[in-house]
Symmetry: C2
Subunit: 221 residues, 2 copies
């Protein structure tokens, strides 16, 4: 295959659908109107993913001879291809760079571990757990103050907003923005974008098609 | 001040010395032999940091009109200034990009929350805690397999190695590499570099000078 190829899992259960990280890449590709194809890797075969993604995760992006993993890296790489994703001037690029890392290293860093406890329905209280709670809530409070004063993180909409709003989407399912109206409004603006809606619908459709394939195979056996 | 200015805290207690994140920036600047000056912001005044760092953390870097926070962003920004930090070709840059994010979003993401429990001396077992343990150990095991086969993450030494080895330094204090010889060897190679040693010594000296200033002020009052 030539051109941009996004590789994701061939199938996942209902639960993570709409949250598989290929969404970030689909979204960026749609924002920039970059043509791409979707390839799959078997969900049950972690070893097969290692040559492309050393932590056996998805997605990865192939662009000719280059194969790239980590959604943050893919977003910045695609940013070079379109001013719809990242401006050309140094000051504008620096803002996108810092906010993309802020999304993944300052907000997602506590968000994912905190969510692990929620997924496990684990309400055990302990000193470490209190630190983790404060870590996440402190970051969200600081973010709330930023978003109260701006529409998008780095001036115009950019890949930094794709990263940050995708991190926040997961947290919204736990009601964390009921008292944080700026975060809630930001997330509403981001997910109202046609490119997000297309990316989301495409991810859901991808896994639903996989369900139908699986059902067909089961009937065939 | 003109040229590159690295801003860090004016003082910290003994414990975090050698681990304040300005180290990553100092290290990169030393590797690239880029001249810079160090400025300080008062440790007790989080509000004063917000205009430069919206989460009230350090460091940030000023380069003329550009001010940049997030160590990952600063490392990639400096990478553009020197091939000692990042190669010029697209394929080489893509590798540095993905491994810098891997350090901060795939390894540091579980590492910092996991360390919060250790700092709190919290050994409370629970399902969420088991997930967090597996999250970190799984990532370190995958990294071990990668490092068993290469000297540096992205071909030659790069900012990705500064990010990753600084993440691993903290974990080493908890003995996590006793059974992971490739991680241990990698960390030893990284911290044996003259630029690391200079950066580390400079950070320690910076806070020791602050101790002397404080002692002088106390005698004066």
């Amino acid at each position: 295959m030539t051109g941009l190829v996004l590789t994701t899992l061939d199938w996942v259960p209902e639960f993570p659908r709409g949250f598989v990280r290929d969404l970030r890449v689909r979204w960026a590709l749609e924002e920039a109107s970059l043509p791409y194809t979707v390839a799959t890797t078997p969900v049950g075969d972690a070893e097969a993913r290692l040559p492309f993604q050393p932590f056996a995760q998805v997605p990865w992006l192939t662009d000719g001879d280059i194969t790239l993993f980590e959604t943050g890296a893919i977003l910045l790489y695609l940013g070079e291809k379109s001013t719809a994703l990242m401006p050309r001037d140094s000051a504008g690029r620096a803002k996108v760079l810092e906010w993309t890392f802020a999304a993944l290293n300052s907000v997602e860093m506590p968000a994912v571990p905190w969510s692990l406890y929620k997924w496990a329905d684990d309400e055990t209280q302990s000193p470490g757990r209190a630190h983790l709670d404060r870590f996440l809530m402190g970051r969200l409070d600081r973010l709330e103050a930023v978003l109260a004063k701006r529409e998008w993180l780095a001036g115009a909409f950019s890949v930094a907003d794709i990263a940050m709003s995708d991190v926040l989407r997961q947290l919204e399912t736990y009601g964390l923005f009921e008292d944080r109206p700026a975060c809630r409004g930001y997330l509403a603006r981001a997910t109202a974008r046609p490119a997000f809606k297309k990316a989301y619908a495409d991810q859901i459709a991808h896994f639903e098609a996989a369900d139908r394939e699986r059902a067909k195979e089961e009937r065939g056996t």
